[in-house]
C-alpha cells in the first residue's frame, strides 16, 4: 500500500525536529486564551517557506493537533479555555479541579485527546479519498439543521434550569445577529460603532464568558487560598486501566462524534464537543455527577475535539475545501509550497502527502509524552493563590484577545462578556447557552436564509429531497425527546453512587 512506503520518510531528523517544535508551540499557544492554532500556523508560513514542503507541513499539522489539546489545560485547570474547541471541557473539567482532582482530569483529557487524534489521523491516512465527498453532501439546509442539533445541547447543559438555559441561548442568538448582515450588507444593532460592524466574535465571547468571568469569581474568595484546596499534586499522569474502562463508552462516543463532525465544513470541534456533551448527559446513569465534575463528560468532550483534527483535513487535502480555519491556513501553506490540493496531490506528490499524514499520526503520539511533562507543570497553577491567579488570568485575557485581532473593540467586548458570564453563572443563566447561541447563530441563520433562496420558499419539499437533512432532523427529534425526559442520574443525584465516588476519589498521591 502506497501509504506504508512513506512511513520511513517521516522519521528524518528535520521532520522530527519540526514536529517537536510544532507540538511545543501548539501546546503553549493553545493554552493561552486567544492565541489559537490558526494564528500560530499563519506565523509559521513565512518562517518555513524555504524548508522542504513535508517538513513545513508536519510542523503545521502538529501545531494544529497540539493546539486543540493545549486549549484544554487552562479550560480544566482554570475554567479559562484557550480555544473555543475546549469550552465544553471547562464545565466538567474545572468542577473536577475544584474537587482537587485536576490531575485525574488532565490525565483523562490527555488519553482522550491523544487517542482521538491518533484514530482521526489513521482515518485521514487510510480513508481520505473515499470520505472526502461526504463534505459535499452538506449544503445550506444541512448546515442549518446541524446548527439546530447543536442548539439542542442547551437543554442538556441547563441542568434542570431549562427556561433560564433557553433565555441564555436566545440572548446568544440575539448577540450573533449584531454586525453587518452578510446577505444585505445592512449594519444590524451597530449604532454607528465601527468596532461592532463585524459583530461579536466567538473568541472574545468565549474568553469573556469563561476566562474573564472566572477571574472575577476568583476575586470573591480569600486571596490566600487556591482553586483546588490542595497543597501538593499527584505525580501519576497516566490514566489507570480502571479509569479508561469506566469511561470507555464515553470515549467511543466522543471519538466517533469528532470523526464525523470533522468532515462537516464550518462545524468542526466547536460544535462536536457540545453535541457529544449533551449526548453524554442524556445517557447518564444514576450517580453520575454531570455539572459537578463528571469525568465521563470530560472524556467525551476531549475525545471529540481531537477526533475532529484528522478528519477535518480530509476535504482540504482531497478537494481543496478546508473544514475549519486551521485547515484553511494549512491549505494556504500547501499552495505556497507549490502543491495543489486535490486528487493530483495523491498521484503527483505522494511522498509529501503521505509523509505529512504519518507526521500527523506520530505527532499525536509524541504529544502525549510532551503533554505529560507540561501538564503537570501547568497543574501547579491550581496551587497558586487566588490573589495572584485572578489578575494573571485577566492580563492573559486582555493580551490574548488583542493579539488575536489587533482590534481594541474586541477587548471591550471580551470584558463586557466577562461581566455577563460572571452574573450569568451566579444566577444560573448558563454561560454555555449564551456561547452556543453565539457560535451557532450565524451558521443557523445563513443556512436557513440560503435554504429559503434555494427552495423558493418551499422548505418542506426541498428538505424532503435531501437524505442527510432527514437524518439530522431525526437526530434533532431524538435529542429533544431525551432532553425533556427526566434523566436517571438526576433523579438519583441525591444518593451518591459509591462506585463513582470510589472512582472520583482516585489515588491522589
Amino acid at each position: 500500500m502506497e501509504a506504508f512506503s512513506h512511513l520511513g520518510d517521516v522519521v528524518s531528523l528535520a521532520n522530527l525536529a519540526a514536529m517537536l517544535l510544532g507540538i511545543v508551540v501548539g501546546l503553549i499557544i493553545g493554552a493561552i486564551p486567544g492565541l489559537g492554532p490558526p494564528m500560530a500556523i499563519a506565523l509559521m508560513i513565512p518562517i518555513s517557506f524555504t524548508w522542504e514542503p513535508q517538513t513545513a507541513l508536519i510542523m503545521m499539522v502538529a501545531t494544529y493537533a497540539a493546539g486543540i489539546y493545549g486549549g484544554s489545560f487552562t479550560a480544566i485547570l482554570l475554567r479559562a479555555p484557550g480555544t473555543s474547541a475546549s469550552a465544553a471541557s471547562a464545565i466538567e473539567g474545572f468542577e473536577l479541579t475544584k474537587r482537587g482532582k485536576a490531575i485525574e482530569a488532565i490525565r483523562m483529557s490527555t488519553f482522550a485527546s491523544v487517542m482521538g487524534g491518533l484514530i482521526s489521523g489513521l482515518v485521514l491516512l487510510f480513508l481520505a479519498p473515499p470520505l472526502a465527498k461526504i463534505s459535499l453532501w452538506f449544503g445550506p439546509v444541512e448546515f442549518f439543521l446541524v446548527a439546530i442539533l447543536g442548539l439542542t445541547a442547551i437543554a442538556a447543559v441547563s441542568f434542570g434550569a431549562l427556561l433560564r438555559g433557553l433565555a441564555a441561548g436566545m440572548f446568544g442568538l440575539f448577540v450573533s445577529t449584531i454586525g453587518v448582515d452578510t446577505m444585505t450588507a445592512f449594519p444590524r444593532f451597530t449604532y454607528g460603532a465601527t468596532g461592532l460592524l463585524s459583530g461579536v466574535g466567538v473568541l472574545p465571547a468565549v474568553i469573556g464568558l469563561f476566562a474573564f468571568a472566572q477571574a472575577l469569581t476568583l476575586c470573591e474568595g480569600s486571596p490566600h487560598t487556591n482553586i483546588s484546596g490542595k497543597s501538593k499534586l499527584s505525580w501519576n499522569i497516566w490514566p489507570k486501566f480502571s479509569e479508561i474502562m469506566h469511561c470507555r463508552w464515553s470515549l467511543v462516543r466522543g471519538w466517533s462524534t469528532g470523526l464525523v463532525m470533522g468532515m462537516v465544513p464550518a462545524a468542526g470541534a466547536s460544535v462536536a464537543q457540545w453535541i457529544v456533551y449533551s449526548w453524554e448527559i442524556q445517557r447518564g446513569k444514576p450517580g453520575d455527577q454531570f455539572g459537578k465534575g463528571e469525568i465521563k463528560g470530560l472524556a467525551a468532550t476531549e475525545g471529540s475535539n481531537n477526533g475532529v483534527t484528522g478528519t477535518s483535513l480530509i476535504p482540504m487535502f482531497v478537494l481543496g475545501i478546508p473544514g475549519g480555519i486551521s485547515a484553511a491556513v494549512i491549505l494556504g501553506a500547501l499552495m505556497i509550497h507549490g502543491l495543489q490540493p486535490g486528487d493530483t496531490l495523491f498521484t503527483k506528490n505522494p511522498e509529501v502527502i503521505y509523509t505529512v499524514m504519518w507526521g500527523f499520526v506520530l505527532a499525536n503520539i509524541l504529544m502525549g509524552g510532551i503533554a505529560a511533562v507540561l501538564a503537570r507543570t501547568m497543574a501547579y497553577s491550581t496551587l497558586v493563590p487566588r490573589g495572584i491567579l485572578a489578575p494573571v488570568i485577566m492580563i492573559f485575557c486582555v493580551i490574548g484577545t488583542f493579539t488575536a485581532s489587533g482590534n481594541p473593540w474586541d477587548v471591550w467586548i471580551m470584558v463586557t462578556f466577562g461581566f455577563i458570564g460572571y452574573f450569568a453563572e451566579k444566577y444560573r443563566f448558563i454561560p454555555a447557552g449564551i456561547l452556543l447561541g453565539i457560535i451557532l447563530g450565524p451558521i443557523a441563520e445563513q443556512g436557513f436564509r440560503n435554504t429559503l433562496v434555494l427552495s423558493d420558499g418551499d422548505l418542506i419539499s426541498y428538505t424532503a429531497t435531501r437524505p442527510i437533512a432527514i437524518v439530522v432532523i431525526v437526530m434533532i427529534i431524538g435529542a429533544l425527546y431525551f432532553a425533556l425526559k427526566p434523566k436517571k442520574w438526576e433523579t438519583a443525584a441525591e444518593t451518591y453512587d459509591t462506585q463513582a465516588d470510589e472512582y472520583a476519589e482516585g489515588n491522589d498521591d
Binding site: I45, P46, P140, A185, S198, L319, I321, S405, W409
Partner: protein, 339 residues
C-alpha cells in the same frame, strides 16, 4: 607643573566629550536615515487569510530593501473598516511614518453603500502603490451539460433565475453580477448564495450542486480548472487574461464592458513627507521585482501588479465607477415591461 590629577580630569573630560560628540553624530545619522526602526504592515483581516498570507510573504523582501525589519500586524473587523478608520482618521504623517496599510479593492467601496454611513472617500487615503490584481471569473461545473458557454448561461437565466455563489455582499463577485444584471435586464433576477467562508465555501456550494454558477477571481480557481472540476466561462477583464487565454471576456460575448477584480493596494498615513514616500515606493517596487518573491506569489496564485501615480488612481477611480454603476445596495432592477 601639571598634576596627575589634572591630567586625569582632562583625559576623562576629553573622552566624555568625544563620547557625546560621537553619540550626537550617530544620533543625527540615525535621524537622517529613514526608516530608522521596524516598519509595520497593517493587514485589515485576521491572520491566515489571503491578504495576510500575501503580505507575510512580502515582508522579508521589503525588509531587505528598506534595511529594517518589517512586521505584519492584523487589525481585523468591520469588513476592514476598523483598520481603515485608523489609517484615515488617526494615523499621523510624522508619528506614524513607520506604518503601511493594506487597502483592499473593491472592499473599500462599501463606503458608497448609504447603510454603512461612512464619510470617507478615495481621497481620504494616502495610496502609495497598487500591489496585486486578480480579475473576476465566472465558472460552472466541468460536467454541467446545461451550459456550454456564457451565452448558454445568459439564455438559461432569461428563463430561470440563475443561482450564483458569491463572496461577501458588495464584494467584487457581487458587484460583477449586479453589473451584468443591469447590462442584460432580460435576465430574471438572480439569486445569490453568499459565502462567509470565502472561496472554499463557494467551491463546496458549486461542487455540491447547490448553485448553477460561481463568481470568483482567477487566482484561486486555476487548480480547480486544471483538475477539471470547474469550467471557466467568462473573465471580467478588458482583454483575455494571460493565464486563461482561451476564456472570453464578458465584453466579447455581451458587447458591454464588465470589469471587476480583487485588488490590494498599499497606503500610508496622510501627511507623510514626500521624501519618505519616495523611499517606500522605491523599496516596494524593488521588492516586487525580486524573482524569488515573484516565484512565491506565482505559487500562491496571486498576480502581482505594481502601479503608482496616475495609473494607480485611474484603476482606483474606474473601480469606484463600476461599484457606483452596479449600485448593488439598490437590489436588482425591475424587469423590462413587455410591450
Amino acid at each position: 607643573m601639571i598634576s596627575l590629577k589634572k591630567c586625569m580630569y582632562t583625559a576623562v573630560a576629553a573622552v566624555a566629550m568625544a563620547g557625546v560628540s560621537l553619540f550626537a553624530t550617530v544620533g543625527a545619522q540615525a535621524q537622517e536615515k529613514f526608516p530608522n526602526g521596524p516598519v509595520i504592515i497593517q493587514v485589515p483581516f485576521s491572520p491566515g487569510g489571503g491578504a495576510d498570507r500575501t503580505f507575510r510573504l512580502f515582508a522579508p523582501y521589503l525588509a531587505e530593501e528598506l534595511g529594517v525589519p518589517v512586521k505584519v500586524t492584523n487589525v481585523a473587523g468591520g469588513g476592514g473598516w476598523v483598520s481603515w478608520g485608523q489609517v484615515t482618521g488617526q494615523w499621523d504623517g510624522e508619528k506614524d511614518d513607520h506604518k503601511l496599510a493594506v487597502v483592499n479593492i473593491p472592499h473599500i467601496f462599501s463606503m458608497l453603500n448609504p447603510d454603512m454611513k461612512r464619510t470617507e472617500s478615495l481621497e481620504s487615503f494616502n495610496f502609495l502603490a497598487w500591489h496585486s490584481y486578480d480579475p473576476g471569473l465566472w465558472l460552472v461545473r466541468w460536467d454541467d451539460e446545461r451550459f456550454k458557454d456564457l451565452e448558454g448561461v445568459i439564455e438559461y437565466a432569461k428563463e430561470t433565475p440563475l443561482i450564483v455563489s458569491v463572496g461577501s455582499h458588495g464584494g467584487d463577485d457581487h458587484v460583477g453580477m449586479a453589473f451584468s444584471q443591469k447590462a442584460i435586464p432580460e435576465m430574471k433576477p438572480m439569486k445569490f448564495i453568499f459565502s462567509d467562508t470565502g472561496d472554499n465555501g463557494k467551491i463546496a456550494m458549486i461542487l455540491g450542486k447547490n448553485v448553477d454558477m460561481v463568481a470568483a477571481n482567477v487566482g484561486y480557481y486555476v487548480r480547480s480548472i486544471m483538475e477539471r472540476k470547474l469550467r471557466p466561462i467568462a473573465v471580467l477583464h478588458n482583454e483575455p487574461w494571460t493565464v486563461l487565454p482561451g476564456v472570453p471576456t464578458f465584453q466579447e460575448v455581451v458587447g458591454k464592458p464588465n470589469i471587476t477584480y480583487a485588488g490590494r493596494t498599499i497606503a500610508t498615513a496622510n501627511g507623510l513627507a514626500p521624501e519618505k514616500r519616495e523611499i517606500y515606493l522605491k523599496a516596494i517596487e524593488a521588492a516586487m521585482s525580486n524573482p524569488e518573491y515573484i516565484q512565491k506569489e506565482t505559487a500562491n496564485r496571486n498576480f502581482l501588479m505594481f502601479r503608482t501615480g496616475d495609473e494607480m488612481w485611474d484603476l482606483l477611480r474606474s473601480g469606484q465607477k463600476v461599484a457606483e454603476d452596479a449600485a448593488y445596495w439598490e437590489g436588482p432592477p425591475a424587469p423590462p415591461k413587455k410591450k
